[in-house]
Amino acid sequence: MLIHYSDDIIVDGLRQKKSSCIAYMYEEFGPIVRHMVNRNSGTLQDMEDLFQDAIIVLYKRSLVQPFNLECSLKTYFISICKNIWLQRLERKFRLLYQEDFEVQESLGIYLMDDEQLKEENLEQRRLFYKNLQLLPTDCQRLIRLYCLKIPFKEIARLMNYKDEIYVKTRKYSCKNLLRKKIMKDPECYQFLEYESHGNHK
């Protein structure tokens, strides 16, 4: 049986990055997001992506104090999803969005100028993350350790590498591999196209 979490508990849990809260959000909000995406030419994968992006946006917003909700968290979350999806539709499919009255989206708060909601940022982040997951395990670990600003010497010790020079060389090759993977990704091509169009405007 699913335990009912209040909005405050969910937000607190999300701030602490608790898996149980994320899972609860999937259970509670997932069907509505799926319904919304389905109604607007989206697939199950689109729904998954949208949901993950919306969680990140909500997390970032929840860190900005004071975080006061003027509506239910569900409505707020759906409004974030709708906003992201609107931009995604506009960019990818050039389709009109059909408002879903069943979820009372009119109650949502839309912040179109919010940097956190910028569709390309979210999608780029997901694209990078997806490709990072495709790297060999040692590469992933090395890049993550490096980005946490762990000294090369310490990384060499943690990863049983010969010395700092090898860590540095390996880091270059891993990052290069990651960049190449990202650039070969069809989604990246789309994003670069979009960016070049945007720059021309």
Binding site: K17, K18, S19, I22, A23, Y26, E48, F51, Q52, I55, I56, Y59, K60, Q124, R125, F128, Y129, L132, Q133, I143, R144, Y146, C147, L148, T169, K171, Y172, S173, K175, N176, L178, R179, I182, M183, C188, L192
Partner: protein
């Protein structure tokens, strides 16, 4: 002067501020000319931003993990659902089979006149009460075959003639004192149709016994009639099949016939 070649580590070194002045100047020139290099540098800068945000990376790991678990759960749930459905179908099929089989095996003769108004007096004796369906008062009926033995396994089996009785069908073995008028020796009626037995007797109060047997020679019912010259046999509730009847008068066989219920 040694020609410079941009290798993959240059992008990292550029962002880390590790390129020397001549290298940096050359790199910037190439950056202006080469669109692909520009895109790669751009991606690297964004990548560095993402990777430096450990909080978001951690959250993305958690979200990814939850999504993966959900997918695995669904994947696991689906075969379980299929298995449960198959088990349910099997159980339902088995139940349906037995329910369907039961009426066939329950083709037991239940004479409405008798079974509905029977009440046991003794082990071997059953008294029958007066019924509206009867035109003749019935005195007593002997229990013929135990209920279980009346069961017939298959419908086709119910129509198989019995050789011993077939020889006697239609023959009048004794005509003195009683003459049967109806029914004919070979009577075919739809199940549920009443069959009227009528006779003429010299005696004023003939004690006529009507015996009904199934096609296996088992006695289905025995009816003794008094003070009348007819009796209507209600076939409602009797399973379709072949029956033999005997008319007995003063302990002697008068005639024998067969009744086919369709």
């Amino acid at each position: 002067m040694k020609a410079m070649v941009i290798t993959s580590d240059w992008i990292d070194r550029y962002h880390d501020g590790e390129l020397g002045e001549p290298e940096k100047s050359y790199f910037l020139k190439q950056l202006d000319k080469n669109q692909l290099l520009r895109a790669e540098v751009n991606i690297d800068a964004r990548l560095n931003r993402l990777l430096s945000d450990g909080d978001i990376l951690e959250l993305m790991d958690k979200v990814e993990e939850v999504a993966r678990k959900r997918k695995e759960g669904t994947r696991l749930r689906n075969p379980l659902l299929i298995a449960a459905t198959l088990v349910c179908l099997f159980i339902m099929g088995t139940l349906f089979y037995f329910i369907e089989q039961k009426p066939v095996s329950m083709h037991t003769f239940k004479h409405p006149q008798i079974t509905r108004s029977l009440h046991k007096v003794g082990k071997d004796q059953v008294v029958v009460e007066k019924s509206k369906d009867r035109t003749t008062p019935v005195q007593a009926v002997k229990p013929a075959v135990p209920h279980e033995q009346m069961q017939m396994p298959l419908l086709a089996e119910n129509y198989r003639p019995m050789a011993e009785f077939e020889l006697l069908v239609g023959s009048v073995t004794r005509s003195t004192g009683l003459k049967l008028i109806a029914p004919a020796a070979l009577t075919v009626v739809a199940a549920g149709t009443p069959v009227r037995f009528k006779w003429i007797s010299l005696a004023s109060q003939p004690a006529v016994i009507l015996m009904l047997m199934n096609n296996h020679g088992r006695l289905v019912c025995e009816i003794q009639t008094l003070h009348n010259d007819e009796y209507t046999l209600q076939t409602r509730g009797m399973p379709p099949g072949l029956y033999y009847w005997k008319i007995m008068y003063e302990d002697e066989l008068v005639t024998m016939g067969k009744l086919t219920l369709k």
